[in-house]
Symmetry: C2
Subunit: 209 residues, 2 copies
DNA sequence: TGACACATACCAACTGGTTGGTATGGTCTC
DNA sequence: GAGACCATACCAACCAGTTGGTATGTGTCA
C-alpha cells in the first residue's frame, strides 16, 4: 500500500467505460478511440492492456461477471429459510434494479452476445459464461424448491434458472425497443406468477394494472 | 406481367439481403457495400433506393413485418374454435419455426432494436412497431381466452401478448449466446406451461427432459 | 548502498484500409 | 426526351492497430 500503483487504473477505467458505453451503443458501434476518451486514456494504453478490441470485449464480459456477482452475492434475498421466498426475493431484487436509464439497468452480456454470436465467438462464449454462471446462483434455490414441492414433470432447476434469464433478457429487449422500462417489470411479474402457480403454495405478491 | 419491371428488383434484393446479413452480423457490423454485394447490386443502386443506411434499417424492419405478417396470417393455428387451442397452437408454431441456423430462425427486429435503441431511434421505433404489431395478432385470441376463463387479477391480453414476445426474444438471445437452439424451445415450453396453469383447463402438451 | 538491467505503464503520431455517402454519366422505358 | 434506374469513380472521415519512444518502477549483484 506504500507504493503508488498506477497499475490497473487505466485498465480498470477502460473496463468501466466499456460497461457504460457498450451498453449504450453496442459493441460494434463503440470505437476504441471512444472508449479511450471515455476512460481518459490514450490508444497506446488501450493496446497495452488489451491485444485487440475483441480481447477487451471478452475482458468486459468477465468484468461484468465480477461486478454483478458481487452485487447479487451481497443482496438480501438469500436470507429466508423457505427456498420459495428466496426465489421470489430474487425476482423482487431484479425488479428493483430496473430504474434509471435503459442503458443503466440492462445487461451488458445480453447486448454483446446478440451482436457477436457469429462475428466474435470468443466474446459470445464469455457472455454465455456470464449468464450461465449467474443462473447457477439461482439453481440451488430452485432445486431445493422443486424438491420441497415434489415437482417432477420434466422441470429441472437448471432449466428454470435459464428460463428466468430468458425472461429477463427478453424484458430488456422490449424495454429498449419500446423505450419504456415498465414493460420489463410487467414480464418479471408474469414470471413471478408462473413460479407461484408452479409451486402453488403462494400467490403473486402485488396486483398490477 | 407483360412488361419487364426492373423496378423493385434491386430494392427487394437489397431488403432480402438485409434480412439475411443483418440477422447474421447485426446492423452496425453490416456495411453498405456488403449488403450491395450480397444483393448483387452496386452502391449507386443502394443510394438510389435508400437515402441512408438508417433509412434501409427502417425499411428492413417494415419489410420484416410484411414478410412475417404473411407467414403468421397463413399459419394453421387460427383454425380451432377454442381460443386456448389457438394460443397454444401459436406457441407450437413458434416452436416449429426454430430450425436451421440460429441466424435463420431469430428475429431481425429484436436484433436491430438492441443495437439501435440509442444510436438510431427511427430504426428502434420501426422495430418496436413490428413487435407490437405482431403481438396484436395474438391479443384477440388472448382476450377471448381471458374472458372465457373469467380471469381478472390484473392480467390483460395486451400484457400477456407482450410477455409472449419477451419470452421469444429472450429465448433467441440465449440461443445465440449458448449457440444452441434447444434452449429456445425449452423456454417456449415453460411459457406453454404458464398459460396452461393460468387458464387451468389444460396441461402442457409434451413432457420434456 | 548504489548502479545497472530489465519490465511495466503509458503516450503522441502515424498507417493502411474501410466506412457511409456523393457526383456524374449512361441506359432503358414510357 | 424526361425521368426512373443503375453503374463507375471518387471522397473525406473514421477505423483498428502499430510505431518509436518516455517515465517509472523492481529485482539483483558488487
Amino acid at each position: 500500500m506504500t507504493t503508488t500503483q498506477p497499475t490497473e487504473t487505466a485498465r480498470t477505467r477502460l473496463l468501466d467505460a466499456a460497461l457504460r458505453v457498450i451498453r449504450e451503443k453496442g459493441y460494434h458501434a463503440t470505437s476504441v478511440e471512444e472508449l479511450c476518451s471515455a476512460a481518459r486514456v490514450t490508444k497506446g494504453a488501450f493496446f497495452h492492456h488489451f491485444k485487440s478490441k475483441e480481447d477487451l470485449g471478452v475482458a468486459a464480459a468477465n468484468y461484468w461477471s465480477t461486478m454483478t456477482g458481487g452485487l447479487f452475492a451481497g443482496a438480501p434475498y438469500h436470507a429466508p429459510d423457505d427456498p420459495f421466498d428466496r426465489v421470489m426475493g430474487y425476482l423482487d431484487f431484479r425488479a428493483a434494479l430496473i430504474r434509471g436509464t435503459t442503458a443503466e439497468f440492462t445487461c451488458l452480456v445480453g447486448t454483446m452476445a446478440q451482436e457477436t454470436f457469429l462475428t466474435n465467438p470468443p466474446i459470445r462464449d464469455a457472455c454465455f459464461g456470464s449468464i450461465a454462471g449467474h443462473a447457477e446462483t439461482l439453481e440451488a434455490d430452485l432445486a431445493a424448491l422443486i424438491q420441497s414441492c415434489g415437482l417432477a414433470e420434466g422441470i429441472t432447476a437448471k432449466g428454470l434458472a435459464l428460463h428466468t434469464q430468458v425472461v429477463l433478457q427478453g424484458a430488456f429487449i422490449l424495454a429498449k425497443a419500446k423505450d419504456d422500462p415498465s414493460i420489463a417489470g410487467d414480464s418479471i411479474e408474469h414470471l413471478r406468477r408462473y413460479f407461484a402457480l408452479l409451486f402453488h403454495a403462494h400467490k403473486p405478491k402485488g396486483d398490477m394494472p
